[in-house]
Every structure is written in C-alpha cells, then in structure tokens.
C-alpha cells in the first residue's frame, strides 16, 4: 500500500525536522513529515537558545571545538536560517525579538535568570535590574508556579492572585482567548493599584493569539507585561510548534503523525520508503531523499543500552564515549556529561559518516557532539542544521 511519494521525507516533527521540511517546501519540493508524536519543542520555553555559553553567540560559535554541528553549517547559513525562522514567526504572528549576535536573559519560574537568544515578543521585557519593581500575578489553584521563589530572589517585588476559575496553564490560556475574560482581567489589574514597574505573569496569555492578547492587555491597562515560561505544559513551546506546523501545512507539506516507523525499504545504497506501524494495513511513504531528525535520547532518536548507544530508525553507526563509567558526571545538574556527545557523525553534506545510504541526511540533536545542554544551543542548532541539511538534500534531489 502506497500512502504517498514525495521529493523528500523528513522523519521527526521537531524543530529541526519542521525547519528542514519548510526549507524544502520553499524550494518547491514536495515534502512529508513522519512523526511518532509531538516533539520536545512543545515542552520547551519557546525561546531560541543559540549559544548560551557566550555573550555573543555568533562569536562563540566560531570558538566551538571542531566537530560541533554548527561548524558544518557555517556562519552565513546560520544567520540565514535564523532570519528565515524570524520571518516565519512574524508570518504566523509569533514574532521573535533579539539578534543572533546578542544573548538575552529571561526569568525562570524559580526566579533565576536564563540566558537565551531569540525570545517571543511576550517575554520582551523579561530582563530587569535589581532596582526595578516587579509585580507577579499568579492564578488561583495554578500548580507548579510559585511567586515566592521569585520574590525571595528579587526583594523589590509584589504579588497578587487572580481567580480564573481554572487551575491549569492550558485552561487559563484558553480563557485568555475570550475577549470578555480579557476585559475582566484588565479591569482587575487596574483595580489592584500595582506600584510602578513591570508586571510578570506565568506564560498563559493565550494559545492561538498570544500576540494580540499581549498587546491588548498592555493597551487596556497601560502597563508593561512579560511572561515567565512555566513547567510543562508550556504555552510558549506549544505556540512555537503550532507556528512551524501551520507554516509547513500552508506550504503544502504533508503530515503522517502518530505512528512509529515499522520498516525501511531499501534498494542498494538508497532508501526507497518507510512503512508506518498501524493496527490495520501499514502505510508506506516513499521519497527520493530522507532526512533524519529524530532527536537525541529524550525524543527517542537515540537509545542507550547498558554499554552501547543505538540509532533507532536506520540503525546507523553511532559514536559515543566507549566506557559507560565516563558517560556521566557525578552530579545530575552539572553540565558536560560525556554521554551528551553521543550521536551520528556526519560529513559536510550532512550525510551520516560511513553510513550505508546516499540519500539520507541528518539534522538536529541526533548529530554527534552537539552537546545541547553544555553549550545551551538547543533550538538554534536545530534550526541551523535543519536548514543546512535541507539545502544539501535539495542539491541532491535536483
């Protein structure tokens, strides 16, 4: 059974996979994305970390050890990829603020600062000085958001609680989509007589129309707001994912969502198609080229046994620190666990090194030595390699 033939089939529907698919659609190719489920992006802060270990990510990238995936992309393509990303965000009303050569800071629900680079408009004013007054608005019954953490870290802060009649971030965000609710909320804010300063909210300002909700709230109350990303479910992450998915659908991209890959159909050094697990008849998706964007361990692209690491779709060769005894540092929260280096080695055309296939390209955190946690380069690296792998793939197809 043939469920479709495409120029390119992207395996994995996360940041790098969707970026690659959109790039190929823009080049006039027919594209399908095959995904087992929703990506880790939905659980993220929605911010684009490009290289958090440097004040100027762009400069920092050139100082990275050789072999880091950014090195294969090259500076111009990194800039181009992010410019395209910002354009897509604006197109779907999720505008991103910031520039690739400048790190920015946002506030976490613990009141600590997180370094990142591109941030959603709703977090634009998240950076504040010691002397600034910050007023935190939380919601009655909302779990996993504790203003007192933030207040103990930043003395000059106040706190009020609004009763939205629902106790979850998703539920509150849905209520913000309703104009009457926004009106009530704005009136309540005005009545609070909050001292001069910024107002911080957990990230609940809408699911679909966060930008207009944010702007309307600022206008109605004449105050400056910013969102603080929450623990999952994370609205800024969902908005980012929905934005990329919509952008892909609008460009004619096709989705095969919710089923794992059952088998690979190959002919010589070429992959012809993949079949998808289904209780009934398996679906078959064919392509001239394939892009592997299944992510690292959390997303299931890599799988670790006691003493070895495997790539889960094509069983590609994986490089990883050989002895398990050096995989992990002593404490969980320390950065630079050696296991983070595990992944698929690539060549300059984003094909797996020593891989058996000529029409397979790789992008995202499954690439060896990306060390996303150590360098703080999650979404940025996904966008850059997704774009670059798509470009290389495009050259192969045509």
């Amino acid at each position: 059974m043939n469920s479709g033939t495409y120029d390119a089939v992207v395996i994995g529907g996360g940041m790098s996979g969707l970026t690659a698919a959109i790039t190929l659609c823009d080049a006039g190719k027919t594209v399908a994305v095959v995904s087992k489920g929703d990506p880790v992006c939905c659980l993220s802060t929605g911010c684009i970390d490009i290289l958090n270990s440097a004040d100027n990510p762009l400069q920092g990238i050139s100082a990275l050890p050789s072999g880091h995936p950014y090195g294969f992309v090259g500076q111009d393509a990194i800039i181009e990829a992010h410019e395209r990303f910002i354009k897509i965000g604006a197109e779907w009303k999720i505008p991103y603020i910031g520039a690739i050569h400048e790190s920015r800071q946002i506030v976490t629900p613990l009141g600590t600062r997180k370094t990142t680079c591109l941030i959603p408009k709703t977090m634009e004013y998240a950076a504040y000085d010691e002397s600034d007054y910050i007023h935190i608005v939380s919601f009655k019954g909302l779990k996993d958001f504790y203003p007192s953490y933030i207040i103990t870290r930043h003395g000059n802060a106040g706190h009020s609680v609004f009763d939205a009649a629902v106790p979850s971030t998703i539920g509150i965000a849905e209520r913000f989509e309703d104009e009457r609710f926004r009106e009530t909320f704005a009136e309540w804010i005005i009545k609070q007589n909050i001292p001069e300063g910024k107002i911080a909210l957990p990230a609940v300002l809408g699911i679909r129309s966060s930008l207009s909700i944010y702007e309307e709230l600022s206008r109605r109350t004449e105050r400056t707001f910013f969102e603080i990303p929450t623990l999952p479910p994370s609205l800024p992450g969902i908005r980012l994912f929905n934005c990329l998915k919509k952008a892909l659908l609008a460009r004619g991209g096709r989705l095969y969502w919710g089923n794992e890959i059952a088998s690979i159909e190959k002919l010589g050094a070429s992959i012809e198609g993949v079949t998808l697990k289904n209780p009934g008849r398996v679906a078959r998706v064919q392509g001239k080229a394939f892009i592997l964007a299944t992510g690292s361990f959390v997303s299931g692209g890599l799988f670790a046994r006691m003493d070895s690491v495997h790539e889960t779709v094509f069983d590609l060769p994986v490089s990883y620190p050989e002895k398990r005894s050096i995989w992990f540092k002593e404490t969980f929260f320390s950065t630079g666990h050696q296991i983070e280096k595990a992944g698929v080695e690539i060549d300059s055309s984003f094909r797996p090194l020593d891989g058996p296939f000529e029409n397979l390209f790789v992008c995202g955190s499954i690439i060896a030595r990306s060390e996303v946690m150590k360098y703080g380069c999650g979404h940025g690296m996904a966008i850059a390699t997704g774009y670059a792998a798509a470009r290389s793939c495009e050259g192969f197809i045509t």
Binding site: N2, G4, S168, I170, G171, I238, R281
Partner: protein
C-alpha cells in the same frame, strides 16, 4: 492488563493536546485519567472514576504521545468498566443504539424531522439529557439502505464494497449515492453490502456488548466480500477507525485483522490506484476556496490526509488545511446535555479558526464535524467526496436510485 502505560514519562504532551481539558476543568486530562490512574486500577475492580465519561475519545492524545502510550484506549477501557458497574443514564442507552433510532426516524422521516424542530419537544428531550444548542440533522426516508445495492457488472475485475455508515445512510444518502456512482463510473463493481452501525456510538456510550454484537454482524458480511475479492471502502473516518482498529483490537473480532488489512478510506484508495497507474482521471476545475477541517479520527487513522492530497489535483481549488482543532461534537458526545457546554465551547473555537481563513466553505470527512461546524460558523460544509464528484462529473452521471 496491558502495561504500555508504564512507558509514560509524564511529559504532559497529551494534556497539551486534549480539547476537553482546555475548556472543562472537571476533566483531569488524559495523563491523569489514563496512565497515572492506571497504576491504581486492578483487573476486576469496580471503577470509581466518575469523571471518566468526560473524555470524548477524540484520540488526539494518542496521536500526540511520543512514547507509544495510548491514553485514549486506557480511558475507553475504563469507561466500559465504569459502564458495567454503574447505572447508565437513559441518554447513553439511547445513543448506544443510535442506529436503531436512525432506522426508525428514517422511516418516519418527514414527521420526525418536524417533531425534533419543535421547541416544546426539544424541552422534553432536554429533560431526558439531550443537548439543546444543536439542530438535529434531518433524516431521509430514501436512505442508503433503500438505494439500489450495486452498480457495475459483476464481471468487472475491480470490486469494492462500500461501508457507508449511519450518517450517510440516514442523513446524507445523496453523498453516499454519489460515492457509489463515482466508483462505478471509474470502472468498479460497487456493492452496498447489508450493514448495521459500525458500533462506535455503543463503545463511546459504555456498552461493549452492543458494540460487539453490531461489529460481529458487519464483520461476517464484510469478510465474505473480502474473500470474494472485494476491497472495503469507507467515507466516514470514525467508521473507518472502528473497522480498522477496534475490530481487530479492542473488540477482538475474529475477522478483524482481515477487515483491517483490506479496508480503505475512499480518497486513500483512489490515490493508491492513481499511484499504481491503474486509474487515469480527468479533473475538471472547481473554483472554490475551502477550509479543510481535519477530523480527529482521520488523524488517528495514521494514513496522512488523503483527501487533501487527492483534491489538490483539482484545478482552481484552494485548500487550507487545519488540523489542530477538535470540533467538539465527537459523535453523540455533544448531544448529551452534560457535555453541552464543552462541545459548544470547542465548536466555537474551531468555527472561529475556519472563519478566519475567509474560505467559501468548510470541508470535513466526518458528518458530525460538518454538522457542528457549519451550524456554529454559519458557513456551508461539504464532504470531500462531493467536491471530488463535482470535479469528475464529466465522467459520471449520478442516478437517484
């Protein structure tokens, strides 16, 4: 007991995708009602989760879950378990048997349609737990089951049996007949096999026994046709999900696997033949801007969006695909008064997104989605098969019978 729930890492992606959780705080969401609670459930134990019935079985959680947990299935099993030991509301009993209701209503069509549009009658129905916000779809006397049951000579090499389902049968037999005629004009022998409800409404209303009885009747007939070289086709995506997934799975029907392997969505089937070079179609232009609402159960089928792929070949047609909203009706779910508010809120959200596309009309494979969305948006709603028929009309002349 199935232990797949232990794969859950509590990432909340299912919660992010649950339409009911978004608007109804009484429902704890698929994570809590599925894998989380499952750890405390034992085989043979009476269910105490009163809220379990708030799940509409849209299956969006299953499609979204990246770890292979099936929250909706865990919940469905618990809904059935709950239904076994607790009093089932009359409205649930009624909707379990919606097929027989359709059967009767169709016979009395003009009278029944008049009756349910009378305010006073709706009041009485509301008293028995039926929602008030939606108009009932009109029933037709000239149902599919009273249509001419075959077309095309039995000597034709390609044979299909069309499982039209209750909605096309009783409410939109005109679309059903178009599909029959379309396949006949493409050179198929088309049979409308004797059939009853697929059983999905019974399953959704906590009545496993009725679901199994209906499924067994259908399976016996469909299996016979498959053995004689027929492929089975469906247009309704919920019937399709039931036939291909729950017959071999949840209901464990003997011929289930055979049916799942030989049953196709109509658009998927045409695409397959086009890809294999067995069919050559001359699509005529249809000038329209369409907002395609992807039904939740089409997503759950895991076959991509075949109607979108097929219809993009029609010149002049501009299709915007929207797949991240549930219409909220979920078959009989929204017709129950206790779910009225949830269904209405979700319907308004989905209708708003469709209106924002500035399309001329809505398209959806599922009759329930069309019913809800067209009433709440004021836009006309069409089945993709109708548009396909319009484009291929040059090769087809539909007959009344």
């Amino acid at each position: 007991m199935n232990f797949d729930f232990q794969h859950c890492i509590r990432c909340t992606i299912c919660v992010e995708n649950c339409p009911v959780f978004r608007v109804n705080p009484d429902f704890p969401g698929p994570k809590q009602s599925g894998p989380d609670s499952q750890r405390f459930r034992c085989d043979g134990e009476t269910s105490v989760d009163q809220w379990i019935g708030l799940c509409s079985q849209c299956k969006r959680c299953e499609v979204a879950c990246p770890y292979g947990v099936n929250p909706a299935e865990i919940i469905l099993r618990e809904q059935l378990n709950y239904g076994k030991k607790h009093f089932r509301a009359p409205v649930s009993r009624l909707f379990s048997n919606v097929y027989y209701l359709g059967n009767l209503t169709s016979l009395l069509a003009p009278l029944a349609n008049k009756l349910v549009s009378v305010k006073f009658v709706r009041r009485i129905m509301a008293f028995f737990g039926i929602s008030e916000y939606l108009n009932f779809p009109p029933y037709r006397f000239h149902a599919m089951e009273r249509s001419w049951p075959w077309k095309g000579s039995s000597k034709r090499a390609r044979k299909v049996a069309f499982f039209y389902g209750c909605y096309l049968n009783y409410n939109r037999p005109d679309i059903g007949r178009k599909i029959r005629d379309l396949f006949a004009s493409m050179g198929f022998r088309v049979i409308l096999p004797r059939q009853v409800c697929c059983g999905l409404p019974a399953l959704g209303n906590g009545d496993l026994a009725t679901a199994r009885r209906l499924a067994n009747r259908n399976a016996a007939i469909l299996a016979q046709y498959i053995d004689r070289g027929y492929d089975v086709l469906y247009a309704c995506t919920s019937c399709g999900l039931m036939l291909t997934r729950d017959y071999p799975g949840m209901l464990d029907i003997e011929a289930g696997k055979k049916i799942a392997e030989n049953t196709y969505n109509i658009h998927e089937y045409i695409l397959k033949l086009l890809d294999e070079g067995l069919l050559d179609l001359n699509f005529k232009a249809v000038a329209a801007k369409i907002a395609y609402h992807i039904p939740c159960h089409l997503r759950a089928l895991g076959i991509g969006y075949p109607a979108a792929r097929l219809l993009e070949r029609i010149p002049g047609l501009d299709i915007a695909v929207l797949d991240d909203m549930c219409c909220g009706l979920a078959g009989t779910y929204g017709f129950k008064k206790k779910n009225q508010e949830t269904s209405f809120k979700l319907g308004v959200i989905a209708a708003q997104a469709l209106k924002e596309t500035a399309a001329d009309c809505i398209m959806a494979d599922c009759g329930a989605c069309r019913l809800q969305l067209s009433q709440l948006s004021g836009m006309p709603a069409r089945d993709p098969a109708e548009i396909l028929f319009e484009s291929l009309n040059n090769v087809v002349n539909s007959s009344k019978r």
